[in-house]
Subunit: 375 residues, 2 copies
Amino acid sequence: QKSFRIVVLQGDGIGPEVVSQAVRVLEVVSAAAVDIDLKLETHDFGGCAIDKTGEPLPPSTLKACQEADAILMGSIGGPKWGVDAKVRPEPGLLALRKSLGLYANIRPANFASDSLLAHSPLKASVAQGVDMIIVRELIGGVYFGKRKEQGVSPDEDVAWDLMPYSVSEVQRITRVAAQIAVAANPPLPIHSVDKANVLASSRLWRKVATQTLKEEYPQLTLYHQFVDSAAMFIVSDPKKLNGVILTENLFGDILSDEASVIPGSLGLLPSASLAGAPSIPSSPSFKPTSGLYEPIHGSAPDIAGQGIANPIGTILSAAMLLRYSLGLEKQAKAVEDAVRKVLDDEAAGGYQLRTKDLGGTTTTKEMGDKVVEVL
Amino acid sequence: QKSFRIVVLQGDGIGPEVVSQAVRVLEVVSAAAVDIDLKLETHDFGGCAIDKTGEPLPPSTLKACQEADAILMGSIGGPKWGVDAKVRPEPGLLALRKSLGLYANIRPANFASDSLLAHSPLKASVAQGVDMIIVRELIGGVYFGKRKEQGVSPDEDVAWDLMPYSVSEVQRITRVAAQIAVAANPPLPIHSVDKANVLASSRLWRKVATQTLKEEYPQLTLYHQFVDSAAMFIVSDPKKLNGVILTENLFGDILSDEASVIPGSLGLLPSASLAGAPSIPSSPSFKPTSGLYEPIHGSAPDIAGQGIANPIGTILSAAMLLRYSLGLEKQAKAVEDAVRKVLDDEAAGGYQLRTKDLGGTTTTKEMGDKVVEVL
Ligand SMILES: CC(C)[C@H](C(=O)O)[C@@H](O)C(=O)O
Ligand SMILES: CC(C)[C@H](C(=O)O)[C@@H](O)C(=O)O
């Protein structure tokens, strides 16, 4: 029997509501297989941890996360702990990523069901067939470089942030992108995004990504894009970037958010942040790695407590958790198939359930009920 | 009689073709007013300058630009002078911006004519009414901070770029945004974009922008957006950012390119990069300032020499030149009105001309002919 320890961080705002539906899904997976045992434990993190303990990432939470096989997380933050607050949730998230070595952020931007095309802000002809996987470096670059705040004396009127990248940092994230690309059949192209016409760190990025792929994955096709052009194509012709988008921390933050609104609702999309060396889920040599899984939407305090939030992004995050950290590819696929069926329109044999973000009246719990039922 | 010296940098690829149509427009303006004399002179810059002189910004070109009242420029660059080339055009552009102190890049993203809505990648309901003016700081931040290339010895495997901002840099660009906002009736809201939840330079940005507006323009409404959210809204609900978007160099590069594809074709949009202190064109105390004007599209080497490029972005850049650097507001408006009439569909009393980028067959020259005729 395989036993896994999963830490659940419920988050703020709608976090607890959506996370609890994903937890139900994991419990069903655990109950359905006699040889799999998922042990879930909840810990405080983010705004709610600040309120209880004065800090966003209490040592006990960090310890539990370090010992866990995987972490399922709801979004943190809210106006209560805004940019002007003395203690804010974001540094807790950045510290968690850094402490766990979660260097690879993986965010698909695709349509969970074709029936959602109508909800895209893009014309159907532009949006149909969009299928990108954004691989963002998560613990390097300007997020973790040295920085200097503006001083208090009037002559100290400069603030700065350092944007560094090392060869090994770029190598390892390039390998993650490559593993995802070769896992597909046929292999996906890789679009590496940088600003090599201006930045030294981008010139290193471009050189190392090119070398690493040439030496280790010569079968893959590599394209380079400047970040400004990539930002353009995501709107004007996103299919041009179908495949794997490989980029650094800040560019990945911007581009993944930009791309995430194409599939109709932020509420639909999952993400994974991985630590260990990458490997292909479908290959016999696959080695699961610890990771943190969260929907890409925010904590949406304005609709918290109403039971109307879309739990699909969190449920699909749980599917990624099963795939990458537990090595349960079959179960991961089953969850994704169940989600598709719940979203597909009736003509396609689905239940066509829609939460409020998609113009419907299905509640958070009803959505979870149906996914569990189909599973 | 007012005499103005205008330097024309034709650029590479389609540059000379589109610039020549804008030059015709300026010549018509000059000929039409007895008291205005525009003296145009052409200089080498960019790729064509590299080919002739070995450098993108020859000293004679820089000198002419420094002495000019305004510069009209076609896009530079092309595969011939790519990232791997020994001498590249981009450093020439960055050096020109810095030498002339062009700290304020102004890029409208709106529909030159409602008839172009159908060409937007966004659904008409999302795109209709989009009217943003992006004010990008152009000679600070990570573009001009210190940087270190990757070393040649194996232990020197880090490259970095510094992203600095000073109080005075943020103050002056904030004032440009404010001047544009108050020039409208009613005044426009300002959306300041930063990443203050992570970056020290962004925290300075947010603080100084807030203070400057509060003290000097208390009548204006100021919103703050994180750059990742702004990238999202530009796709999902761009009207939310209608008004003036105020942001730093790198974020402005990304967001202005992202927004520029909304109005249907890159070929339609102009830009201005200004030096001096800002003031309101319509006010009696208006003081023109030197500036560089260019369409936002690239040099499009693939269609160069075919006479099919869209000259509208360059012609509208010439209109901005008339407004901001020569103080000829009436003439600027006349050019903009002529462009609208040429683009408007027949039901709206226009000529509905369309170059290839908009699915039509009008040539570059025919487009220029019609604008000149209407003028
Ligand atoms: C909250 C913030 C620090 C974070 C980031 O920028 O990484 C968020 O935007 C994200 O993308 O997870
Ligand atoms: C060519 C490049 C250096 C430039 C920039 O990034 O500023 C361009 O993208 C622009 O926006 O004018």
